[in-house]
Symmetry: C2
Subunit: 420 residues, 2 copies
Amino acid sequence: MLGRASVVTVEEARRIFEGAFLMPSLAVEAVPITGALRRVLAGDVVSGVTLPAFFRSSMDGYAVRAKDTFGATDALPAYLAVTGEVLMGEEAVAALSKGQAMKISTGGMLPPGSDAVVMYEHSQTLPDGTLEVGRPVAPGENVVAPGEDVREGETLLTAGHRLRPQDLGALAGIGVLEVGVFKRPKVAVINTGNEIIDASLTPSPGQVRDVNSYNLAGLILQAGGEPVPMGIYKDDYDDIKKAVEGALDASDIVAITGGSSVGTRDLTAKVIDGLGGAGGGVLVHGVSVRPGKPVIIGLCRERPVFGLPGHPVAVTVSFELFIRPLIERLSGYVDRLKTSGIPPVRVVKARMARNYSSGPGREDHIRVALELKEGELWARPILGKSGLITTLVKADGAVVIPLAKQGLERGETVEVALFD
Amino acid sequence: MLGRASVVTVEEARRIFEGAFLMPSLAVEAVPITGALRRVLAGDVVSGVTLPAFFRSSMDGYAVRAKDTFGATDALPAYLAVTGEVLMGEEAVAALSKGQAMKISTGGMLPPGSDAVVMYEHSQTLPDGTLEVGRPVAPGENVVAPGEDVREGETLLTAGHRLRPQDLGALAGIGVLEVGVFKRPKVAVINTGNEIIDASLTPSPGQVRDVNSYNLAGLILQAGGEPVPMGIYKDDYDDIKKAVEGALDASDIVAITGGSSVGTRDLTAKVIDGLGGAGGGVLVHGVSVRPGKPVIIGLCRERPVFGLPGHPVAVTVSFELFIRPLIERLSGYVDRLKTSGIPPVRVVKARMARNYSSGPGREDHIRVALELKEGELWARPILGKSGLITTLVKADGAVVIPLAKQGLERGETVEVALFD
């Protein structure tokens, strides 16, 4: 058992965890691109083809030899013989010789000999079929050259990139219909507590329905992980130990919730220590954050195991502080904007709609609803004792009061991290 | 055929469409809450239970009668007889009488007769088992009262709300494990163009792989819709008409892509007019936006049908302007923040890294990559002829240059709508 002695700050808790956790190598799976939206690429994608593969018209008009139009004006137009039409999706039936033009549509393949396209708007056809061109085109004008989009051997996308709609389009364009992506990290959820019953049952006096499994499953999905529900367990050392052992076999991260009472917390800690292995066990027991102070962070058989407080709000705060970043890391995702130092987008500035007091020496996480008043955004704290799930339901986001700060004053500007 | 005469502004196009489109009644389906993340509630959820259902301790300590502690100080403590322990998930075996206390854990049910909880930290047990309380507690202190979280008959969530993790937790808490949600709007995607081949095939000269199906499917999913791929069709009136008829049977919105050439565009317009029905057909043919000018907006049998230009970038721009808002509306989603006038969060301010010229009389949509330099965010336009899918791949977001503005200058501050 390490670092157990006392409550530590969020920063210290992260540092202790980082010092003990060895990043595992990430598993990879192949998925069709139709199912790859938001999945994270496990390797660079290098194009095996050149796009476009041919000189392509970017306008409706006539393929010409640019040279034949040089010096053309409305007063002294160039006259070209239209020898035919390039059909979409086909090669031209013949090459273009001096003084000739061929009708072509946007996306059509330029006939050999041509090097530019005269737009319809800048030409007219005489009664005998001759094309009259009133202004010159430069070589390459209204033409997309081979490789302007992608060149063979070019890296189209890099490992760690999370696939967006346009990336799927580009992959299809180069004929890559299946990609290697990192497997989603699996997060096992174990619920403990003699008072907790399956949400489908009717509680007897003293019992409460399981809320945390559902809240956590949603948070895990949202973060890019895969929830693995392990069920509800009574406060019994052997039962919980068995559940954690099963969870370690089935997942990359284990979250044990419940245990709001001292006795249960000690049970969770004992199980984590029992299954710790070398360098493992409980690393952090208690973090100076409210709500969420009794959180336990440990390693069992080199996998991260979290003992979360039983309160739904504390579960959410602990998840956001410690588990979401870990899921993102284990998903292989490289957030280009974040690594470039660009601030997160789901944060808005607002002014506090009332005072909020916070004790010194702890990081306070409060839930707020947003309101627009006279063009200004206001954050109204959602009050209510911790442990109420509806404070989360009524809120639009959360505000963090840092360790060193003792509360917030009405009118003060804060950053609100919006719920997704 | 209505409104066909000329190119209209984005705003006019929206107004014309709104004037003709009748919002249909939305279909509803029941889903288990485990699969309901981000789904949109079809009706209000009213709680059938009160939470907590009983007076619940919010601390580890002793359940007491507050009156018995009045006036207690360290110098003159109150002495109480500990008559037992409240077990988690169970009712107390006996009620509390004057001068008595019972051990209780966080989440435990208060015994009848008690009305407050003394924290462990503020008490000590004497060798004979008597509890010494050094400070008074007020009635209700460290206790959550029935209904503090939710009251029976209270509306927990309202129709149009998109479910978040905490909402799923709250639903479980009140025993609602299945909810009625609006069906996801189905968007049929028809690809046309003699040059387009299935992305799994190897193109012959003049042919290109289908990019738009994949890009569009991703965009539709992202917007909360369900893509219905209808396949690739040659530029043939009867074939495309048959495809649109099939799509109208299978979906709520139809998107026809391809048709970058004048001939194909006319074909699409002809099909939409042919299937228009009363008040339907082509409503808008051409919008003053770049890229995306040749977009067609129509109604067939009262369903929205879009003729999108063939270029992937133009597809994305047209989708964002016209189809995404329509999918969101047909999904029943009421964005509380948006309707409160709170600006969208996926927009960041940045300074243009170079000049960009834009013609007058059209709305220009440009793609930009973001860079952080000396603490400032810069937007670098991704140049390249329209029709290149990689300009979208290399970009982090888009900037709109309004109709009235002729270009942007280096250093000018713009709003970047980030890609998701």
